[in-house]
Amino acid sequence: MKSLERALRQIRGEGRKALVPYFMAGVTPNWRDYVHAAIQGGADAVEIGLPFSDPLMDGVVIQEAGLRALNAGTTLASVCAELQQESFSVPLVAMTYYNLFHYDGLERAAGRLQQAGITGAIVPDLTLEESTHWRAVCASSDVATIFMVAPSTTSDRFVQLAAATEGFCYAAARMAVTGRAAGAGDAQRVVDSVREVSDVPTYVGIGITQPEQARESSAFSDGVIVGSALVARVLAGDSPVEIEGLIATFRDAIDG
């Protein structure tokens, strides 16, 4: 079991629901300050978006953040190099698209993540079927591969995906890309389907924009992922301190 899953299982073991915010790497020069602020505000792990030209699974907010990051010259290598200079008290998880790893070379890309202290990767366009090579490469590293499940996932696929995912299982609350709609959607059914076949921590994402929604979804899951709602604030110019405050309201809602 990789370190990510050990850490997340321990959080669950402590009776705590996980709060996992998302930030786009490179979106502003001080982007890492947002990561620190999030941790300060109560995040249990942080998703780091690595910008890609064609983000198939993202809505306009994260697209825009990615574009800013790309225009600022952000690359897989530059992000990993920046992260290597610091250390963070919670696990970091990369979120990006497969071509970035493929182009870099899978071994090299996995090595970069590991060295940067990233212990997991969510790659929404890497299907279970196509993931064999990547997972084989990561087997010898501490980088976990996190799979998504969705309302359309069939029962046989729930079994396979829940078995394959490492760290946690990403339960998409609805049939949509990031940042489109809000609320728990089909999340409970999706989470239940995972639980029927696995005890892996299962977090709800895609549509968690308000603390109240986070509370609601964390009631039937092991945690929530908050993406576009935060990224929108960053794009609007909120400071790290403001983001810390915002995260804290999510934390309170979940815990309270």
């Binding site: 030209s53 064609d54 071509n99 493929h102 299907t127 969705a150 309302p151 996932t153 696929r157 890309v177």
Partner: protein, 389 residues
């Protein structure tokens, strides 16, 4: 006669596969099963052929381009996809996919489009079957191709301008896929070329292979035998795959003409985009570059995975044709043969003009896939020629 079948995971050699969000996987699997089942059902195949004959205008003829041949010293035959309904080979694919949509019990299609050809074709086939239709089109393209936008609306489709990224074809595909996630239950994504996740590259090639089947029969029945060369332009590669399918197991050399500004084989490297692994034009950091071509239909930074495989094995050759060569080729073809080719198709013509007597030995027989008519392009050509004066 047949091209290779993809393996279980949808690979042609190293290329192809499925790289889509999990939310879409069930739909891709369902589609694969439905297509396999339909394509082995003579009733479906019969219906497909019937609609293409009575609605689509098939078979399209083969025209001997005698004046161009005389000028170039090679024997050139054109497969006339420009005469198909809506003006290009695109109709073959959309007839197949909309019939399949109905068979799967879905009531709606979505599609991406660049210049509008595939969008118009999809709207056309959807209208005929009474399916709802939404077309995603880059905002820049909606401005450049206002009339095609209106044409789709006349046909009852809704056109949605895509404002993300470069606001052209690549982003229209992204957006269509993002939308498909939200409506996959009742909606089929009618992809326009031999690209995207399995089974699209295979399915679209199968629907387009009617071009090659007809062409082969026509060449044989006019006593020409198989041509020395088969030449087609390549954007995603559907018209090329369609005509190659008729000659893959012959001695014909297969040539795909790519736009120089989007030459995924010549200037690209393996990568993953739009659900497939294929040859792509990429930056040094693995970001997908924008393509640049005079012709909207070739303005794509990738190529279908089967073509990447045919290039890797050497069975087909892919050659870049620059924008500069295309307009003179369009002019020569118009003046000598009375056929104004689409800018896309004019890439294939330009390559023949350039290479006749060189890469094409004098006296060779060449089968050109005239993938579409140039009517959609005359306004643009006019502006460009004005600019040159």
């Amino acid at each position: 006669m047949h091209m290779q079948q993809p393996d279980e995971s949808g690979r042609f050699g190293d290329f192809g596969g499925r790289f889509v969000p999990e939310a879409l996987m069930p739909a891709c699997l369902e589609l694969e099963a439905a297509f396999k089942e339909a394509w082995s059902d003579p009733a479906f195949v019969g219906e497909f052929r019937h609609v293409l004959a009575e609605f689509g205008g098939r078979p399209t003829p083969i025209t001997h381009l005698s004046r161009l041949s005389d000028k170039l010293g090679v024997r050139i035959f054109a497969k006339r996809e420009d005469l198909a309904h809506t003006g290009s080979h695109k109709i073959n694919n959309v007839v197949g996919q909309t019939l399949l949509t109905k068979r799967m019990g879905k009531t709606r299609v979505i599609a991406e489009t660049g210049a509008g050809q595939h969008g118009v074709a999809t709207a056309t086939a959807a209208a005929r079957l009474g399916l709802g239709c939404t077309v995603y089109m880059g905002e820049l393209d909606t401005q450049r191709q206002e009339l095609n936008m209106f044409r789709m609306e006349l046909l009852g489709a809704r056109v949605v301008p895509v404002t993300s990224g470069s606001r052209t074809l690549k982003d229209a595909v992204n957006e269509a896929m993002r939308e498909w996630v939200t409506c996959v239950e009742d909606t089929h994504y009618c992809l326009g070329s031999v690209m995207g996740p399995h089974p699209f590259p295979w399915m679209v090639r199968e629907f387009q292979s009617i071009i090659g089947q007809e062409a082969r029969e026509q060449m044989l029945s006019r006593g020409e035998g198989v041509p020395d060369m088969v030449v087609a332009c390549v954007g995603g590669g559907s018209n090329a795959a369609g005509i190659f399918a008729g000659f893959a197991n012959t001695t014909s050399r297969l040539i795909g003409a790519e736009a120089a500004g989007g030459a995924a084989v010549a200037n690209g490297s393996p990568g993953v985009l739009h659900g497939m692994k294929s040859m792509l034009i990429q930056s040094e950091f693995g970001q997908i570059e924008e393509a640049h071509s005079i012709s909207a239909g070739l303005d794509y930074p990738g190529i279908g995975p089967e073509h990447a495989h045919l290039a890797a094995t050497g069975r087909a050759e892919y050659v870049p044709v620059s924008d500069d060569e295309v307009i003179p080729a369009l002019q020569l073809m118009s003046e000598l043969e009375g056929i104004i080719p689409a800018l896309e198709s004019a890439h294939a013509v330009a390559w023949i003009i350039r290479e006749a007597g060189r890469a094409i030995p004098s006296g060779s027989s060449v089968l050109l896939n005239l993938s579409g008519r140039g009517d959609k392009d005359v306004a643009q050509v006019r502006e460009m020629l004005k600019g040159q004066q």
